[in-house]
């Protein structure tokens, strides 16, 4: 009903007249196409740029990692106990950080998309802060908070708790850096969905948890998964903040990216590339899942080719209204 109304309003009649006159419309379409040589030059430039910036580096990682054969590759990753530990540590730190941010993202989205209150705009802006603050500044801030000269350091020490240069510090720093990813995905989604279904559930006698589990969560599950995937990719790759709070203790507080740097500085490039290839593989899997979710569940759908399939007005509206910080 709604989309029909928009369609009728959005197409003014002269254009419709052009359309009905097939010949004129076809001529116009051809003339608003760029000339063939322009198209070829621009496409070649794009392919060249994407090749140099993205494709060649991607291939290079796997080439360098595998050039000594699969057996050596396996040894680089599995033989060194410090490298093994870094993989395990990343697999501990990232999921915990993601879980924290999922809980936060759900609470923040429910709050921002379902209620109006003073300071709402400020709160939304605060969620974005970790995206623009340098990870190094974030790391330093946690050092100031938990270090021996810091606010909490001495009193925590008195209780026998050390946070700086331990795994909890890595988790806190990673959580800070990845804080916005789930919330930024859920807030616009829940605003688009609107409160109608939840209100209906409420009027039928559902309580808060029932509304959340049976109405809200099924509606946002794919958006939530999308946010989790992006958040996890960022969490596994985090370098700056983690590097500052870790104290770089080999075999104890080195996550995979930190271990890559350590190996690189030890002039052990093959091992660094082997470990980097694992991280790259995770990034590629992330991209594949992302494309799958976008295609299957219409989350931030990639644009169709110009003229290949006409966008509906509704899609146009969705396309322009989306957020921009990925």
């Amino acid at each position: 009903m709604k989309s029909e109304m928009i369609t009728q309003e959005a197409v003014p009649w002269p254009r419709e007249a052009c359309r009905s006159n097939g010949k004129l419309s076809h001529a116009l379409r051809r003339q608003t196409q760029d000339p063939l040589w322009v198209r070829l030059v621009l496409i070649s430039l794009t392919v060249l740029l994407m090749g140099v910036l993205v494709v060649i580096p991607l291939i290079h990682v796997f080439y360098e990692a595998l050039r000594d054969g699969l057996v050596t590759y396996g040894r680089y990753i599995l033989a060194d106990p410090d490298t093994r530990h870094s993989i395990v540590l990343t697999l501990i730190v990232a999921p915990i950080a993601v879980l924290c941010n999922v809980l936060f993202g759900l609470a923040a989205a429910w709050l921002v998309a379902r209620f109006r209150f003073p300071g709402r705009t400020l709160l939304v802006a605060m969620i974005d802060i970790p995206l623009s603050v340098s990870p190094v500044v974030a790391g330093l801030s946690f050092v100031l908070l938990f270090g021996m000269q810091g606010f909490f350091g001495p009193s925590l020490r008195a209780m026998g708790i050390d946070i700086l240069f331990t795994v909890p510090a890595l988790i806190i720093a990673t959580t800070f850096v990845t804080l916005p990813y789930v919330a930024r995905e859920l807030i616009p989604l829940m605003e688009t969905l609107g409160p109608d279904e939840e209100l209906a559930a409420l009027s039928l006698g559902a309580n808060g948890w029932q509304i959340f589990w049976r109405v809200t969560l099924p509606n946002i599950q794919w958006g939530l998964l999308y946010g989790i995937i992006l958040c996890n990719a960022r969490a596994m790759g985090e370098f700056g903040a983690v590097s500052v709070v870790s104290g770089r203790i080999p075999g104890e507080t080195m996550t995979m990216p930190l271990q890559v740097e350590l190996l690189f500085q030890d002039y052990n490039s093959p091992a660094a590339f082997a470990l980097a290839s694992v991280l790259t593989l995770l990034a590629v899997i992330t991209l594949i899942l992302k494309v799958y979710l976008e295609g299957r569940h219409h989350l931030r759908r990639p644009p169709p080719a110009w003229g290949a399939s006409p966008t509906t007005p509704q899609e146009k509206i969705n396309g322009t209204a989306g957020g921009t910080l990925p």
């Binding site: 760029d34 993205v54 379902r114 623009s132 990870p135 190094v136 644009p303 080719a305 396309g319 921009t324």
Partner: protein, 274 residues
């Protein structure tokens, strides 16, 4: 879409409490600690820390390299977004997905690969170094890596806007006698400006804070290839009094990124209206 003002739905108190507590503990307290520590220093001490020749060089390089990289990213991003939306060619969907790779790839991996590719014996360096183009362990290396991490922001900001241009204005311009270039210059480009500026600002903000990839490619030589975040880390690692200096340097960088955040929010509101 009606949002309910009287808090009919349950969970207002719970979600408000959780969200506020989380933000206070993870964002307000740490960043507050940074600012408070910097203010404790006293003005002259603060100024000597942030205005030392080495700090000035590091800030200059950070801002300069980020500005250049953001400008290059804007150009490249516009081109890629335009081609991906307007032209159909084999591999288009694949390229479109690969645009997101720099956002998903750990920065340390990017740094490692780029330092290798452009060094004298590397795949690209073997052609570029004889030509005098040193894109490893140089200022150019920093710009190259920042373009890598920055251009997806521009593509993803501009892409939906190009997609939303429905061709009506172009047809009108054509019927009024404009050629293709005039149409682009006077009709299409002005419509893209807000999103281009937003993308530029996003790439700039990302570049200012970038650390992971640059550590690998720049060589980190003071006065030459040392960026501000690296200077902060090395001061912090020196310990003692130098921690205060690191805090002062970090506060300046923090202020710059918060300014960028406000600017980006304004720009996004503007491009949504325009």
């Amino acid at each position: 879409m009606g949002r309910i003002d009287p808090k009919v739905l349950p969970g207002y108190g719970l979600s408000l409490g959780l969200t506020m507590m989380y933000l206070v503990v993870l964002v307000v307290l740490p960043l507050g600690a940074c600012v408070v520590n910097a203010f404790r220093m006293g003005a002259s001490e603060f100024l000597t820390a942030v205005w030392s020749p080495r700090a000035r060089a590091a800030y200059g390089l950070s801002f300069g390299a980020s500005l250049i990289a953001a400008a290059v990213s804007t150009l490249i991003g516009l081109l890629i977004a335009w081609v991906l939306v307007r032209y159909d060619f084999p591999g288009r969907r694949l390229l479109d997905s690969l645009v997101d790779l720099p956002l998903a790839l750990p920065t340390a991996v990017a740094g490692l690969v780029f330092s290798h590719l452009y060094s004298a014996g590397g795949w690209l360096g073997q052609f570029l170094v004889p030509l005098g183009i040193e894109a490893a362990y140089s200022r150019l290396a920093i710009v190259v890596v920042l373009v890598f991490v920055g251009f997806p922001f521009v593509v993803r900001t501009v892409q939906p806007v190009i997609q939303s241009l429905d061709g009506e204005e172009e047809e009108a311009a054509l019927l009024l006698g404009a050629n293709r270039w005039q149409t682009f210059r006077y009709v299409l480009f002005p419509a893209l400006v807000p999103s281009l500026i937003t993308g530029f600002a996003l790439a700039l903000a990302r570049g200012l804070g970038e650390y992971g990839s640059i550590v690998f490619v720049s060589g980190n030589m003071p006065f030459k290839t040392e960026i501000a975040p690296f200077l902060i880390v090395s001061r912090l690692e020196e310990g003692g009094n130098k921690v205060l200096e690191a805090t002062a340097l970090a506060t300046v960088l923090l202020a710059a990124s918060l300014l960028m955040l406000v600017l980006i929010n304004r720009l996004e509101a503007w491009s949504r209206r325009g």
